[in-house]
């Protein structure tokens, strides 16, 4: 019995040495360690032996089994490693895969329009400051675009906002409907329909009757904002705008507030940021002023609040508005606004 075990061991060792793939290794395992192998049989038959024989043969058989098990593991590991090396070698030999600088399989690339991206970016900042996005009609009533904003029919401010009128006359022969000339019309609607406290922003398309050139189009985009509450001051307006500018333009850009006039605010403010090109020292881009005007703002005129049913003695309010299209123009150095509204992919695919 002991001799037979030794023979078994010698055979197994010899055969294992010449095995060089995993499938031969598997049949070797079946042959020497499988459920029907001689070794297993011997181990299974130990009980029938005398105590003396059981002790010596049992110890040897178990020892051989452990030895073969560990050899099997070693051989498996080394064969697997060898196999992987081969796979890598054969992959490398494929001519095409050798040039890893070849272009990848293209996927269709979608892009948002630069104006959409700008609007999203700006809206996100104001939303995080507690402003809710409001949207309303492009075609608007004269009342919300002008009257409610303290711009009566003969106000000279109307001349600065040449208006497209819808082709409809009421019984008095007046045209009551127009294409909004500013998104401030949405503020007028908010004042009329919402109850304070109010904190809203209003992005959208606006329209002006203008001769078209590189910086003037009959349609462009604006974003207005409005906050109504008890105790709102110009300092809050300034702080809100500064915070917006800090996040949108970055920490270093200075912001300037100076008096300006809009019929629907008092006091009125023009907001400018430091010119990015010359850092405030003056250049052609900023007309030598060092500042780029980005929008108008102010404390909502008491009459505007009153018209909307909000008591100006109880509430104060600030309002602001700015043009959107100029922002990507300045950011990317685009000199012709018409490119935005065309379909030239050579332009649009740059963003």
């Amino acid at each position: 019995m002991l001799q037979r075990l030794d023979e078994l061991k010698q055979n197994a060792f010899r055969e294992l040495e010449v095995i060089n793939d995993l499938s031969n290794l598997e049949s070797w395992r079946v042959r020497y360690l499988g459920r029907k192998s001689e070794l297993t049989n011997i181990l299974r038959g130990l009980a029938e032996l005398s105590l003396e024989e059981r002790k010596s043969a049992g110890a040897l058989a178990n020892h051989i089994k452990n030895e073969l098990d560990s050899l099997l593991n070693q051989k498996t590991e080394s064969l697997k490693a060898e196999f992987q090396k081969q796979v890598l070698r054969s992959d490398e030999s494929l001519a095409a895969r050798g040039d890893i600088t070849l272009p990848g399989r293209p996927i269709p690339m979608g892009r948002l329009h630069p104006i959409t991206e700008t609007l999203h970016e700006i809206c996100d900042i104001f939303v995080s400051l507690g402003f809710q996005i409001m949207e309303s009609n492009d075609a608007e009533l004269d009342y919300y675009n002008f009257e409610a904003l303290n711009i009566p029919e003969e106000h000279p401010a109307r001349d600065d906002m040449s208006t497209f009128w819808l082709d409809y006359e009421d019984e008095r022969g007046k045209r009551p409907m127009l294409l909004r000339t500013h998104t401030t019309s949405v503020s007028a609607r908010c004042v009329a329909t919402m109850k304070p406290p109010i904190r809203v922003i209003e992005p959208g398309r606006v329209y002006r009757y203008e001769a078209t050139d590189a910086t003037h189009l009959t349609m462009f985009h604006q974003l207005d904002g409005l906050a109504v509450d008890k105790g709102i001051t110009m300092a809050d307006l300034k702080g809100t705008f500064y915070e917006f500018a800090r996040r949108f333009y970055g920490d270093g850009r200075r912001v300037r507030f100076r008096p300006d006039y809009f019929p629907f605010v008092e006091p009125g403010v023009e907001v400018a940021v430091e010119c990015a090109l010359c850092k405030g020292s003056g250049c052609r881009l900023c007309g030598n002023s060092g500042w780029i005007e980005i929008g108008g703002a102010g404390m909502t005129h008491p009459k505007v609040l009153e018209r909307g049913g909000i008591d100006p003695n109880e509430y104060t309010s600030f309002a602001f508005g700015f043009g959107i299209d100029r922002i990507p123009m300045l950011r990317y150095g685009i000199n012709d606004m018409r490119l935005f509204f065309g379909s030239d992919l050579r332009f649009l695919r740059q963003f």
Binding site: G110, Q132, H155, A235, D236
Partner: protein
């Protein structure tokens, strides 16, 4: 408005530079858009006197001019025809920066020999100095100017380009701006003193004035000057007008213009002899009344326009323009000078109706002060008396039916803080208001002030107007920055706003380029959407005053712009193109604002993937478009059922629609070949359109189902059905069996192996329940029931 810095300095002491003044004005709300420095490069250029003119030895048209410059003499070669001994001219030494008279470019004057004779500097023309375009001869100066005077001192100036906001008509004048500068710098203001001698009888013996309509004309003042000699204006007067950009005409017209620029009050001069009946009536125009304006054009007037009339006819359109019938001419000997006040809205309306926005009109319509009439009238009368007239009749006419008392506005430090957010002391408040001309009354120790605006400030009406003045004069830069401290108001965000962003992101993920196109369009392009080139049945929203025939209507669809975009990007057909726009369309509602639903429209053509070095890919087709739509709908939580559709712009066989609430909310299809042709697109185009607001009620909230613990049973069935039976009908029946948790179509076949008029549809069915493993027997039972129902309802049989 162009404003000469030199002119401003006539009215206010200025110690700051032009640039500093421009900065102060801008920061106080009077924006100096730009400053043009006249004579920035004039260092070393001085006045000289010609002492000798000698012929040039080598050129007939040139002369050698000797100049006395005070400390030295120089001889220059000169080509100008107007050189004469004794003339005072401008001498520029070598090294001066001048404008080349021929090229118009700026250049440094170099030492030169002209035709063999050295020229040490030159005598300059106006063009060479950059003053004007005149280059016919050298600039000749008045003889009283001292030799050696620097040109900068003589003619140097800074011309500000100032944008005055509509609320500050008082600043449309030199004195108004000077007042601001005085307030901002604390310097003294000097106003002209209008002193002149009167003679003869009272003006009231010569002319009467009646105001018929005091609402439109609250005040009318006039003076009468006789012995008029019409002549050219003196240099100083012409210079002032030119600095503003006005053309000098004659002494009388120039004086009225000058005083308008100086005070901001428009004036008008009538030829007194031409006033019929020697009576002025300010009245509304009669219906059908006409007047020929100074420019020779006959203008039809209407009842809502105000005219200045004599006893017979209208002689001027009030505040807008004079009439030819009373115009001052070379033969005029007496002038009736008008200084009046008109209702701004009326002037605005009339100016626009007649298409005559004049300098006067701009000032009147913004509401200049009623009290400005007298000082301006007296100033102009004085200048006319000095420069063109002999006698001024005694007194003035002053009809003033619309007299208004200026009210005081009470203001406390708390009021100011409530708006500005910063506490100013009562002293700060009163001193800033006093600086801009307010009369302030504050009791000692009181925290409030009673402020009365100066007469020229017609824009101050309510406390917040006064508060702005305080903040403006102290400076906005003093205002602190704070973030809103109030709690964030309750938000009710619009669902559509979030949906739009979601859909845009999905489209970008599907490889679409977003476009933004104009909302305004035209019928011609919309007509292209019809295969038979028919005009739209109902007209889109029409603009009454379109800027061009290309932008006459609000777009009722996004299709036209996207198809035009495909057409203009034919270069991309090979690699394939996917474009979308998400925006409003405008649907007319008679007598109401249009509906403006947000629509998504996508178009695609060409290959699914762009060419690659390992080979290209196939062309996209109807099912690419449909797959994208289905994917989009599923992502936003909508189960949609597609039906046959009949949109005329699409291929009759390849289009499908989802209808909800009786509305077509999703449409997908291949573009009709004729429409492709209209847009000159040489390829099949697939298009889809989704009405976003209509989707909102259909969006299902996501729910969680436990992941099944028990295995599913999969069964494939191939059905033979009539060719007219569609996928969805079969699906709807299978879906009625609750044990079937998923169904997928994996084959559609029509051909030899099925009978004619039939087709085969193969479905893979997944059977599953959450609480146990289904037995084969149970699955067989359900499958049989399904087949039975399919047979009875659709005539479907199992494919053998």
């Amino acid at each position: 408005m162009k404003v000469s810095f030199n002119w401003l300095k006539q009215y206010v002491d200025v110690k700051l530079s032009a640039a500093e003044i421009a900065g102060r004005l801008t920061m106080a709300g009077i924006e100096v858009k730009s400053s043009q420095v006249i004579g920035a490069d004039w260092a070393g250029i001085i006045v000289g006197q010609i002492t000798a003119v000698n012929p040039h030895p080598n050129a007939d048209r040139l002369t050698l001019v000797t100049l006395e410059l005070g400390d030295r003499q120089e001889t220059v070669v000169c080509g100008a025809p107007n050189v004469a001994v004794g003339a005072k001219v401008v001498y520029a030494p070598v090294g001066s920066k001048l404008i080349d008279g021929h090229t118009g470019e700026s250049a440094i004057l170099k030492p030169a020999k002209i035709r063999g004779v050295a020229s040490n500097g030159m005598a300059c023309s106006e063009k060479e100095l950059g003053i004007s375009e005149s280059h016919e001869g050298i600039l000749l100066l008045p003889s009283d100017i001292a030799i050696g005077t620097s040109l900068t001192e003589l003619l140097g100036d800074v011309i500000f380009s100032i944008e005055v906001t509509p609320n500050r008509p008082d600043c449309l004048s030199m004195i108004g701006l000077a007042r601001e500068i005085a307030a901002l710098t604390g310097e003294s203001l000097y106003l002209p003193e209008a002193k002149y001698a009167e003679s003869g009888t009272s003006i009231k013996d010569h002319v009467t004035v009646e105001i018929d309509d005091p609402d439109l004309c609250p005040r009318y003042c006039a003076s009468l000057i006789t012995g008029i000699k019409i002549a050219e204006s003196p240099e100083w007067l012409k210079e002032r007008l030119v600095s503003y950009g006005m053309r000098p005409i004659n002494n009388i017209v120039d004086i009225t213009n000058f005083v308008m620029l100086e005070y901001g009050q428009p004036l008008h001069s009538f030829d007194y002899e031409k006033i019929e009946g020697k009576g002025i009536i300010v009245r509304r125009a009669k219906s059908g009344e006409k007047i020929t304006s100074l420019d020779g054009i006959e203008r039809a007037l209407s009842r809502d326009m105000l005219v200045i009339a004599d006893k017979e006819r209208a002689v001027a359109v009030a505040g807008i323009m004079g009439g030819a019938n009373s115009e001052v001419s070379e033969n005029t000997s007496s002038i009736l000078l008008e200084s009046a006040s008109f209702k701004p809205a009326s002037i605005h309306h009339t100016g626009h109706a007649l298409g005559m926005p004049s300098e006067a009109c701009v000032r009147f319509e913004r509401g200049i002060s009623v009290e400005l009439t007298i000082p301006a009238l007296k100033r102009a009368t004085q200048l006319i008396a000095e420069l063109g007239g002999e006698h001024v009749a005694k007194g003035i006419i002053d009809v003033y039916p619309g007299k208004l008392e200026r009210k005081s506005i009470k203001l406390s430090t708390a009021d100011v803080k409530r708006v500005v957010g910063l506490e100013y002391s009562i002293e700060q408040i009163t001193s800033s208001l006093t600086a801009v001309g307010f009369e302030c009354q504050a009791d000692k120790g009181s925290s409030s002030v009673s402020a009365k605006a100066p007469y020229w400030r017609t824009d101050i009406n309510i406390p917040v107007d006064v508060i702005e003045e305080v903040a403006r004069i102290i400076g906005y830069e003093q205002i602190p920055t704070t973030l809103l401290a109030q709690p964030i108001p309750k938000q009710n965000p619009f669902l559509i706003t979030a949906l739009k962003r979601r859909v845009r992101n999905i489209m970008v993920g599907y490889g679409f380029q977003e476009l933004v196109s104009f909302s305004l369009t035209n019928l011609e392009i919309l007509t292209k959407l019809s295969p038979g080139s028919r005009k739209p049945e109902s007209l889109p929203v029409h603009i009454a005053n379109p800027a061009s025939s290309e932008q006459e209507y609000l777009r009722p669809t996004l299709r036209a712009d996207l198809l035009s975009a495909l057409s203009s990007n034919k270069a991309y057909i090979e690699e394939g193109l996917r474009l979308f726009e998400l925006g409003k369309v405008y649907l007319a509602k008679e007598g109401n604002l249009p509906d403006e639903p947000e629509m998504l429209c996508g178009v695609l053509y060409g290959r699914r993937l762009e060419g690659w070095w390992q080979g290209g890919s196939e062309s996209m087709d109807f099912f690419d478009a449909k797959g994208m739509v289905e994917g989009l709908l599923e992502q936003i939580g909508i189960t949609a059922k597609f039906e046959k559709s009949d949109d005329e712009s699409l291929h009759p066989a390849n289009q499908s629609v989802v209808i909800a609430g009786g509305k077509r909310i999703v449409l997908v299809g291949e573009l009709h070949p004729s429409v492709s042709e209209h847009f000159e697109i040489p390829s099949r185009v697939y298009l889809f359109e989704i009405d976003l607001p209509s989707l909102l009620p259909l969006i299902k909230q996501k729910t969680y189902h436990t992941i099944p613990k028990f295995p599913a049973t999969i069964r494939d069935i191939a059905l033979v059905v009539d060719i007219g039976v569609n996928y969805q009908q079969v699906l709807d029946i299978i879906r009625t069996f609750s044990l079937v948790t998923d169904v997928a179509l994996f084959d559609v076949y029509a051909g030899e192996q099925v009978p004619a008029g039939k087709k085969s549809l193969a479905y893979r069915l997944i059977f599953q329940t959450p609480d146990r493993t289904l037995t084969d027997q149970q699955v067989n039972g359900v499958q049989q029931a399904i087949l039975k129902k399919l047979k009875s309802e659709l005539g479907a049989s199992l494919r053998g």
